[in-house]
């Protein structure tokens, strides 16, 4: 982490001229312990552009921020002079209900967008925290259980406006669902953690709100039958919206299946999913109209490791988490979208950084193939003090790192956008 930097008064004046709401940063503005000098809250894409231009002229490092719900997730910035707070840009600009499309400013909160869309019986089908902003959800690539059916932000994003590190405003996509004109910058920005630019507007494809929903759950005493149940539900033609697994440390495994549709259709499908879970060996199989405990929730403390895999390896993944957890002594809890091949293994918050790092290293050794082999998944550290302590590389051996760095260098040659957030040693 860099030492405190002193910013010349003239720089402050230039930033304030670009963005009149500029204020001095307070203690609560620190990003993973790194204290910024200023917070700017642009009211428009134009103002955001002017602010980033001024920051570029002064060589300042910039950290975009939405509601701040995900700020603690990821590596701390190498430096942070200016936080750009997007919460003033919170308008749902356009909801074209007949087109199932909405254009929103990046600072709009998910619950606020949901309320606006619900008036027309529609939704943005992403399970993200209600108080998170749209821009934050895109930048972090946040998606919950329904990623099984609807995908992640990159899959629902059809247009984006972004301010580059040099202040240039760029768009890609548009406001039609079907569009292959030009490169899709939205894909790159989704999950980029603020390191490629500042997202100011987004256009999404929407879905109708289902008239009825049902959660079917079953408990399993061992990993193999739970994995079989997940495979059966996710491979069935009953079109589940989510196929989740929840395995608290020391507890039984719970498989949860979400169905959305018409009341009679959902009732019939829930009956058949219940049969699937029962014949896979599930006990206490039940269907209900409200989500089971911890549905789509991740722990708020401790190390969170995302493991992605091909579903046929689920039992092997669970065995690896169990064995590596025992070896490292981290008592992992496992939860996530098993049917979509994504689980979150969460180490006991009481476990130390060394233990968490050992856990991650063990998982990578067992689950991530060596270079040259076809990739069959990744082990990514999303959160935890272990990141700030520098005890672990968040991405590990993922393919294409050199190309990712080349993309970063093109978009942000000065390395000023959330430097160090994604790649250790800058980026």
């Amino acid at each position: 982490m860099s030492a405190e930097r002193t910013v010349a008064p003239a720089v402050r004046d230039a930033l304030a001229a670009a963005c009149p709401s500029l204020s001095d940063a307070g203690p609560s503005d620190a990003v993973c312990g790194v204290a910024p000098s200023f917070v700017g809250s642009p009211a428009s894409t134009g103002e955001a552009s002017a602010l980033l231009r001024a920051a570029a002229a002064a060589g300042l490092s910039v950290v975009p921020r939405g509601a701040g719900t995900g700020m603690a997730w990821g590596l701390p910035p190498d430096s942070c002079d200016l936080v750009v707070d997007m919460r003033r840009m919170d308008t749902v600009i356009e909801h074209a209900a007949g087109d199932l499309v909405a254009r929103v400013q990046a600072g709009a909160r998910m619950e606020q967008v949901a309320a606006a869309l619900a008036e027309a019986g529609q939704q943005l089908a992403l399970d993200a925290p209600a108080d998170a902003t749209v821009g934050g959800v895109i930048a972090t690539g946040t998606a919950g259980p329904r990623r099984f059916r609807y995908g992640t932000p990159r899959d629902l994003l059809i247009g984006i406006t972004v301010v580059r590190a040099d202040g240039v405003v760029a768009h890609s996509g548009g406001k039609v669902v079907k569009n292959v004109a030009g490169y899709d910058l939205g894909k790159l920005l989704a999950g980029s953690q603020g390191t490629l630019g500042l997202i100011t507007e987004a256009t999404f494809r929407l879905h109708p709100l289902p008239p009825a929903v049902s959660w079917v759950t079953g408990e399993f005493a061992a990993a193999e039958p739970a994995a079989a149940a997940v495979a059966a539900a996710s491979g069935s033609a009953l079109v589940p919206s989510a196929v989740e697994l929840d395995w608290p440390a020391g507890g039984p495994l719970r498989v949860g299946v979400l169905l959305e549709g018409t009341p009679s259709g959902v009732a019939e499908r829930a009956r058949r999913v219940s049969e699937l879970l029962g014949s896979a060996g599930g006990s206490a199989v039940a269907a209900g109209e409200s989500p089971p405990a911890r549905w789509g929730r991740l722990p708020s403390s401790g190390t969170v490791v995302r493991v992605s895999f091909w579903v046929s390896r689920l039992a092997e993944v669970l065995a690896a988490v169990s064995a590596c957890g025992d070896a490292a002594g981290v008592r992992p809890a496992v939860t996530g979208s098993a049917g979509a091949g994504v689980l979150y293994a969460c180490a006991d918050p009481a476990a130390g950084h060394d233990a968490a790092a050992l856990f991650v290293a063990g998982l990578r050794e067992r689950l991530v193939p060596g270079p040259g082999s076809p990739p069959r998944g990744s082990v990514t550290v999303l959160a935890g003090g272990v990141l700030a302590a520098g005890a672990v590389d968040p991405l590990g051996p993922v393919p294409g790192l050199a190309l990712m760095r080349a993309v970063k260098d093109q978009f942000d040659p000065g390395g000023r956008m959330f430097p160090g957030r994604l790649f250790p040693g800058g980026g």
Partner: protein
């Protein structure tokens, strides 16, 4: 430049085998165009590599010599994305056509790029699975080409495009490095290079292995055909279906002229005298589809349908689809030449845009047949003309451009699924600002700083990639053969 390519031929024979390198002028000519036959350019050299390692070696040889290269799948693209370069190498992927692996539990397949789209679904069928993107050319088009174009199809309304169904790629970078992008599962660790690569029209590298999602075959499929007096009435039914919260697998519409053509070509026996035919397909669990079918049927009726037909078995469904699927080729029966347009408008603007197209058509004195993916606003106006009549090709081209202007004026796009390629790069500045295009090309600079990989496509003006200039300083946005008057455009 040609000398540089000639010098490459022996090296290419070493890499691919003598029988897989084409230098004979007559044979080269068979590769002069893709599905956009109005642009032709004979490549200097054609190679047919048989493995990813061979593709990498071919690209490395091109990169070392500073020779541009273009990848080609089955050559069905409709925007000239695989138009060769007279100063370059055409890399034809059709020998790499094996389905390497199917994992039914994971619902994933690993295929080579030359595999045809439909053969993936055929290979998956024994496991009760299919590959969802279904471009009309699916019998012949390659999955590698689908990746380049981010292909959709009639059913992408519900099931999504290629980008939603590819979870990993092995690629040869423009520098000739063989590597994977994506972790193979569809989860992004780091930047979504996979998402950037898919739909980049062959300008960021060449895919050599493709991991695709497979989807359980739907339990039930119902197809409904509704006939209307006008496209406006059909359009109202479409809006009402969406407003009712139903998301069909496909919603297609044809106007009177395209029905006439389909009738002449395949005797599809659509309701006589119909001004528009709407095809709605519903798929999913039986428990849901039956209810949706009832809703859709009553909406279609209320919108003024003169006749409704329904099909729930594959043979009957095929009869309904026959006319729609034949439409592009069928217009050949009623016009010597035609341009297939590919604009998109917000679904709610369909009626207005169709009226504008009709007005443009009548003022130009050129017929336009309309076939479209009504559910997602993707129009395929077929501009009919006679290339033997002086002035008609130019007038048709002008009308085709005016249709795109109308789409853009309604907040739409210049291409929904055919791509920009060489055909539409000149329209890109109408849709995107100079800053937008410059920013997109930052991605190009990261992948292909020397601008050797399918240059001259997508972007009207290339960006200079910092301190790494291309080996040839005279590359321009317009395909050089076109600029030099050596490519035939008709």
């Amino acid at each position: 430049m040609t000398a540089a390519v000639e010098a490459l031929a022996p090296r290419m024979r070493d890499i691919c085998g003598a029988g897989n390198v084409i230098t004979d002028p007559l044979e080269l000519r068979t590769y002069e165009c893709d599905g956009l036959t109005s642009h032709r350019c004979v490549p200097a050299l054609v190679v047919l590599p048989g493995s990813a390692a061979e593709v990498a070696a071919v690209v490395r040889a091109c990169a070392a010599a500073g020779v541009p290269f273009v990848a080609r799948g089955s050559g069905t693209g409709l925007s000239g994305g695989a138009l060769p370069r007279q100063d370059g190498v055409l890399i034809v992927m059709s020998r790499m056509r094996s389905v390497i692996e199917i994992d039914p539990v994971s619902r994933r397949a690993v295929v080579e790029p030359g595999v045809t789209n439909l053969s993936v679904s055929k290979a998956a069928a024994p496991f009760g699975l299919f590959y969802a993107p279904d471009p009309s050319s699916q019998v012949v088009c390659s999955v590698g080409g689908n990746v380049a174009e981010n292909s959709g199809g009639a059913h992408c309304l519900k099931h999504g495009f290629t980008v939603h169904h590819v979870t990993g790629l092995e690629v040869v970078t423009p520098a000739g490095e063989l590597m994977w992008v994506g972790d193979g599962t569809g989860v992004c660790a780091g930047y979504d290079l996979l998402g950037a690569f898919i739909g980049s029209e062959g300008t960021l590298g060449i895919a050599t292995k493709i991991v695709v999602k497979l989807v359980p075959l739907p339990e039930t499929v119902h197809t409904l055909l509704a006939a209307y007096a006008t496209t406006a009435e059909g359009g109202r039914a479409v809006s009402d279906i969406i407003a009712a919260g139903v998301l069909p697998a496909a919603i297609e519409m044809m106007d009177a002229l395209s029905i006439e053509a389909a009738e002449a070509a395949v005797r599809c026996n659509y309701p006589a005298g119909a001004g528009a035919v709407l095809i709605v397909e519903l798929d999913g669990p039986a428990a849901e589809v039956e209810a949706e079918l009832a809703t859709v049927r009553s909406i279609c009726q209320a919108a003024g349908a003169t006749e409704i037909r329904a099909a729930d078995d594959p043979a009957e469904r095929a009869v309904i689809w026959a006319g729609r699927k034949s439409a592009f080729a069928a217009v050949g029966r009623i016009s010597p030449s035609f341009i297939v347009q590919d604009g998109v408008v917000p679904r709610t603007s369909l009626g207005d845009v169709l009226a504008e197209i009709a007005a443009l058509s009548s003022s130009a004195g050129i017929r336009v047949a309309n076939v479209f993916h009504a559910g997602d606003g993707n129009l395929h106006p077929l501009v009919l003309y006679d290339d033997a009549v002086p002035g008609e090709p130019e007038a048709a081209e002008a009308l085709s451009g005016a249709i795109l202007d109308a789409c853009l004026a309604h907040g739409g796009s210049i291409t929904g699924e055919h791509g920009v390629g060489v055909d539409k790069s000149r329209y890109m500045p109408k849709m995107f600002s100079a800053e937008d295009l410059d920013t997109m090309q930052l991605v190009r600079c990261a992948f292909d700083p020397a601008t050797l990989c399918n240059p001259g496509k997508v972007f009207p003006t290339p960006r200079l990639c910092g301190e790494v200039p291309g080996p040839s300083g005279r590359r321009r946005g317009v395909h050089p053969a076109v600029a030099a008057g050596q490519a035939e455009i008709f």
